[in-house]
Symmetry: C2
Subunit: 294 residues, 2 copies
């Protein structure tokens, strides 16, 4: 049985891209403030950028704001991505950016809504409620989650940068001394979330949201979770930012990082061209990092 | 301008109740697995229990699972609560249990969806993204939020019980010694969330979700946030649990705690009677606590 991240990696290979096209039909970008207009905005973006998309990421909020009509539009957009995938002969994963998080039968209902009702392959979740709130979303290995870890917003530090102390009770005493590894240790809350996610990822379907704006944090998260895929928002069209983010976060195999971009592509005169350029820019930076022996 | 919690307190006085009726149309409890059936299930509950309801709390997940039809049903249920309120001459607040959490324009869209599109008065949110993710929901004082603090599920400890160290840089040195209050201090993550919420609550529209199952945690949260309202899930029909939870969490004015109950009422033979009994049980415990001089 295929896992979500082996599915994603297949697509990454097919299109030589780490670009995740954000579908954010913000009302200001629409020709009219209607669900139909939000749908058409997204369908146009999908059509123009699908060749360069390792994944698409519709943002649930911008559909929910139109109520029931918004949900119909969201479902149509996801169906259109499936059709486009079949047409190209390469399936493009859909990551529903919904940042849900609840427990037990409520979490099961959200999972059913995202994966069965809407047809998404992956969803973003908050980790605040703990492992049992994630479980209902990762039962089937083909379906995946990205857990919020270190987010790109200024207020992310309020909780995520808190220093948490792990009370590692001494397990071994060598020559009357506790060995260093069993002493209590301190990490940032977001690092702890990364470590938990790495442990929980037994089916290759858990990734992390790590803001590309936080280069030092990205390095720490990569150290804490060497295997996981990151969804790294916050990159503009600026090469410098992109380079330092990729350097900090890429895995040794040159994968492990999806770069979501929304407005810089959607608002470009030619979204397809903007996506192609960003894909190539990422590819060029990867090649340089590879030459430098990373 | 009225604040959300002054609105809630007016209703609490009107119905002498701290009961929050959960509207959880779980598919197993429905006559058919359809949105119409979910709607009818809720409309019946609203009709039978409105006299005893300090608030109603529809759970978004059980509507979303029906897609667009579920959203229409949810909107109809909220509209029916408004009608019932007008009929009784006492407005009942609607708390949308949606556990959202996102940033900037995305958070604004979620707020618009909950408050304008659906007509809810309050929403549950995850605090993991920090203050700027809460701001779009608390701009208007009449609209409120309950932030997840210490939740009732077993996995709540994974993050919420972590010990965070606050680096309080010494501000005063007395006789060459740091005064105790300025040294670094440790609290549970959920306590820190409670302290932040108490600070952020400048418009009387921020409350906390604190599981009634965690009595010690409830005491700590009450100490950290003396003024705030708690939404305290996890109480069954057992008086003992209810008593210790109320003792730990009620404010000195005998308010400050909403007790959400879903299945114990919805699955009762006579939901109205079950709600009346729970309301009276809470009232009796409050009276006893009052006699004991609390």
């Amino acid at each position: 049985m295929e896992s979500f991240f082996s599915f994603l990696e297949k697509r990454v290979d097919d299109c030589s891209s780490l670009l995740c096209i954000g579908l954010d039909p913000h009302v200001n970008d629409l020709s009219a403030p209607t669900a139909a207009s939000a749908r058409d905005f997204c369908l146009n973006l999908v059509k123009q950028t699908s060749r360069y998309a390792a994944a698409f990421k519709p943002n649930a909020a911008f559909f929910e704001v139109f109520g029931a009509d918004g949900w119909i539009a969201l479902k149509e957009v996801i169906a259109a991505i499936q059709e486009e995938s079949h047409r190209m002969g390469s399936m493009i994963p859909v990551i529903l950016d919904a940042k849900r998080g609840d427990i037990a039968s409520t979490a099961e209902a959200y999972a059913k809504s995202a994966f069965e009702m809407l047809g998404a392959h992956c969803i973003t979740l908050s980790p605040y409620l703990g492992k049992d709130s994630v479980d209902p979303f990762i039962q089937i290995s083909e379906k995946g989650v990205f857990l919020l870890c270190k987010t790109s917003n200024p207020g992310s530090g309020d909780l995520q940068d808190l220093v948490v102390t792990m009370d590692n009770r001494p397990q071994t005493v060598v020559n009357g001394q506790y060995s260093a590894s069993t002493m209590s240790s301190s990490v940032y809350l977001y690092e702890h979330v990364a470590k938990l996610a790495q442990q929980w990822n037994t089916k290759n379907n858990i990734g992390l949201v790590v803001g590309a704006t936080h280069v030092e944090a990205t390095k720490r998260v990569r150290a804490a979770a060497p295997d996981l895929w990151f969804l790294a928002p916050g990159v503009g069209a600026q090469g410098g930012e992109l380079e330092s983010a990729l350097k900090a976060g890429l895995r040794k195999d040159g994968k492990g990082m999806l770069i979501p971009v929304s407005r810089a592509i959607a608002r470009a005169e030619k979204p397809g061209l903007a996506a192609a350029e960003l894909r190539d820019q990422i590819g060029y930076i990867k090649m340089q990092l590879n030459r430098e022996g990373r």
